[in-house]
């Protein structure tokens, strides 16, 4: 080891000292530097609103147009930082962890069914009537069904933007050949089991294959939506889950009725056996099938297909009463310290997004904001207006700490329903698997 050279030491010390000094200057001098912001958690630009959402595809494009509308009013792109994440459990995990880590966004999107567990976990703040009034809104501005659905423990926890039910898409050319269109080119009423099944038989004859497609490979949400729709069409059924997810109260007879019917359609060749999301959809677009069950947001994809003529209607009532699985996109305020001015700014953002509900409705969603819903512009929108009544027959998922759109519950039950459609399990076998897989959730007290 060479003896320590004093000159080297000084030079290094000087260099090191200089670095440290520069660093502290950067920290102290400029409160909005990225480093300082990262270390102390302050915002880069205090007037910038941070907004998180989960909108991809056509929804994402429309949301960006609405964001641009907000930015125009508030001083350009710097006024808003919008981030889009992949939907489902990962999104809600991120939102939860960010809020627990005291770095939540100012405003976020949540499904109505997922807002409830977030509220139970103290991740989001209630919104008072005074909050609404501060930006000129009131609870009467919203679809009463949606508004009532978000109320939890007497508090408003989320401001609904829309209702998004599962609907039935039809290929106009195929439906016409099958003789299912009336003189106006609209789909005839297919309510009633016999009417619906004879329509399926007619379409199957035209396509030479399936009449209706439902995605069920690598896809759990769609089988759940379809099941929950038909299940709730049966009069007097019990909730699937009750007591915030502690009890499995599903009506097993009704479960059996619906799932056996689905299997019978597959066996008759009317319903596809196994198709993934894109496959089920493209079969409709290419005329390999006549009907397709999926959320109305797929309107954007359908419109993008050149030369495709299609329509959309509420899923026919094949049992006793109209019902269709639905959820709502809502705005929520993640828990954080807000000054009154910031709170008003955040609510104003929500208000201005609601005001652009017509843009949102073009993406298929049924506006929850009544001034838009009742407007003539919306009523003229086709095929959107053809299924707007689905909002009144909307059935949300049962509240449970592990439930809601894209949740563990949907993944578990939806997976078994997908296997039922593949004829890989019997309805009873699926029910046994559901019971065994949900057991731990039923028995575990909510960690929220």
């Amino acid at each position: 080891m060479a003896p320590r050279n004093p000159a080297t030491f000084t030079r290094r010390a000087l260099f090191g000292g200089g670095l440290a000094a520069a660093g502290s200057l950067a920290l102290a001098g400029c409160a909005t530097s990225p480093v300082a912001s990262g270390l102390v958690g302050s915002k880069l630009n205090p007037s910038q609103l941070i907004y998180w959402n989960l909108f991809g595809g056509g929804d994402g494009t429309r949301m960006q147009a609405m964001e641009a509308g907000y930015e125009k009013l508030h001083g350009g792109a710097a006024s808003l930082q919008a981030t889009t994440f992949a939907w489902g459990n990962p999104y809600y995990s991120k939102l939860t962890l960010a809020t627990v880590g005291n770095q939540p966004p100012d405003v976020a999107i949540s499904h109505l069914t997922r807002a409830k567990p977030l509220y139970d976990g103290n991740i989001i703040e209630p919104i008072t009537e005074a909050d609404l009034a501060s930006v000129g809104l009131s609870s009467s501005d919203f679809n009463p069904k949606t508004w009532a659905a978000q109320k939890t423990d007497g508090n408003n926890i989320a401001i609904p933007l829309d209702t998004h039910p599962i609907v039935m898409f039809f290929n106009t050319a195929v439906a016409k050949k099958a003789g299912l269109l009336d003189s106006d080119g609209k789909l005839k009423n297919l309510d009633g089991m016999d009417t619906f099944e004879s329509a399926l038989a007619a379409v199957s004859k035209v396509t030479g294959g399936p009449a209706i497609t439902v995605a069920n490979v690598s896809e759990t949400a769609t089988p759940w939506r379809v099941f929950w729709t038909f299940y709730n069409q049966i009069k007097g059924v019990t909730p699937f889950l009750s007591n915030n997810g502690a009890d499995l109260s599903v009506d097993e007879d009704a479960f059996n009725t619906v799932t056996s019917r689905i299997q019978s359609w597959v066996k008759k060749g009317w319903l596809n056996k196994g198709l993934d999301y894109a496959g089920a959809e493209s079969d409709l677009f290419t005329g390999k099938t006549g009907f397709y069950l999926e959320g109305e947001w797929e309107i954007t994809t359908a419109e993008a297909v050149k030369g495709l003529k299609f329509g959309m209607v509420p899923i026919p009532t094949i049992y006793d009463k109209a019902a269709n699985q639905a959820d709502s996109h809502t705005f929520i305020l993640p828990r954080k310290n807000r000054t009154p001015a910031e709170r008003k700014q955040h609510l104003l953002f929500i208000k201005q997004m609601l005001a652009q509900s017509q843009t949102w409705a073009m993406g298929g969603h049924i506006p929850a904001y009544l001034p838009t819903f009742n407007s003539t512009a919306y009523k003229k929108l086709e095929p959107q207006a053809d299924y707007a009544s689905a909002a009144t027959a909307a059935v949300y998922d049962d509240p449970a700490w592990y439930g809601g759109s894209g949740s563990t519950f949907e993944n578990t039950v939806g997976a078994q329903l997908g296997l039922i459609q593949q004829l890989a399990v019997s309805p009873q076998g699926a029910m046994d698997a559901i019971k065994s897989q949900l057991k731990v959730y039923l028995n575990t007290p909510s960690p929220l």
Binding site: M1, N89, Y92, S93, T96, L97, V100, G121, N122, I123, V217, S218, T220, K273, G274, L275, D276, A278, G279, S282, Y402, S407, T408, N411, T412, A415, Q416, G418, L419, Q422, A424, A433, S436, Q437, V440, Y441, T444, P447, L448
Partner: protein, 320 residues
């Protein structure tokens, strides 16, 4: 390793290995140790903050009802989290799927890597092409691999289904759609993806073997198979040991391909241990229960690594 002479004991009492080690004097002088620590400190800080710290937290929180959304450890649970995991059928099935994946992937990843490395090593011109071709998939991220293979396995319109149709077969709902074949689909994608790593290890090992051995064997009339059997295989045994151990540990940690290709489905037929742990911890907000499951998986991985090591040592002793 020990450089300090065993003072206070007579030389006669020392074992031979101790005597041997005391003969090697450390080139370091007094005080250098402290400087070494200083150089190690930056890494040490990260090691403490991101490995040891969280591991200790995992051990502690596994005994509590720790929730993601509440601060602190939560109420004391004792062994309840462990009890829950050990009696949960989906925990056992996820452990079995992890093992199943390891069984499906380890043999082909070792044998095929060896096979292709031997073939590549015999090529004289353009060897770079084969080295590149086999290693190329490995540099792709798991998300890309998953996309490629999900496309291949797409029901009715994917590459696999197209090939089936072309051969006059009726394509089913797809490999990933059936609980019986989904794990095989994930395993096939993984073998294609990670073969390159073992391949490169084997190729490096092969290039260490002197060509004279083969020449001498050839002069003595040994066939190609005999050369592989009596020269290549024995001289590569250390590489094989390393490859097998690394592969088993890597396969037991399977997560991304399953998450991206099947998300554990259909049903829970491809749900693996790390998937269950992630779901319990981040989706169900139950950090305590997830920690208990992590500890159990850690025990299994350590046990398998130790057993492998013991077998290896036994075999090495037998050889010597």
């Amino acid at each position: 390793m020990t450089a300090t002479p065993a003072l206070g004991r007579t030389a006669a009492a020392r074992t031979t290995s101790e005597v041997r080690s005391t003969k090697r004097f450390s080139p370091l002088s007094r005080g250098d140790g402290r400087r070494a620590w200083l150089f190690l400190a930056p890494f040490g800080v990260f090691y403490l903050a991101f490995l040891l710290g969280p591991t200790v937290w995992m051990l502690v929180s596994s005994f509590f009802n720790t929730s993601t959304v509440h601060a602190g450890l939560g109420s004391f649970a004792g062994f309840k989290n462990y009890g829950e995991m050990l009696t949960r059928s989906d925990f056992w099935s996820s452990m079995w799927h992890t093992l199943q994946f390891t069984i499906y992937t380890t043999p082909p990843l070792v044998i095929l890597a060896f096979f292709f490395a031997v073939l590549t090593n015999r090529i004289r011109r353009g060897q770079w092409f084969f080295r590149l071709a086999f290693f190329l998939p490995y540099i792709l991220p798991s998300a890309t691999i998953s996309l490629i293979w999900v496309f291949i396995f797409t029901p009715s319109s994917g590459l696999f289904a197209s090939v089936q149709s072309a051969l006059g077969m009726t394509p089913g709902a797809g490999v990933l759609a059936s609980p019986n074949t989904a794990m095989i689909g994930v395993a096939v994608a993984t073998v294609w993806w990670t073969l390159g790593f073992n391949f490169v290890l084997y190729l490096a090992g092969l290039q260490e073997i002197p060509r004279e051995l083969y020449e001498a064997a050839a002069v003595d009339g040994a066939t190609t198979w005999n050369q592989i059997r009596y020269i290549t295989l024995p001289l590569l045994s250390r590489t094989t040991t390393l490859v097998i151990l690394l592969q088993i540990v890597a396969s037991l940690k399977i997560f991304d391909q399953v998450y991206l290709m099947t998300s554990g489905g259909p049903g829970i037929s491809t749900q693996v241990a790390l998937g269950l742990i992630t779901n319990t911890g981040f989706t169900d907000d139950r950090i305590g229960a997830a920690s208990a499951a992590s500890v159990l998986l850690l025990i299994v991985i350590v046990a398998i690594a130790v057993i492998r090591q013991i077998i290896d040592t036994r075999l090495a002793r037998k050889d010597a």
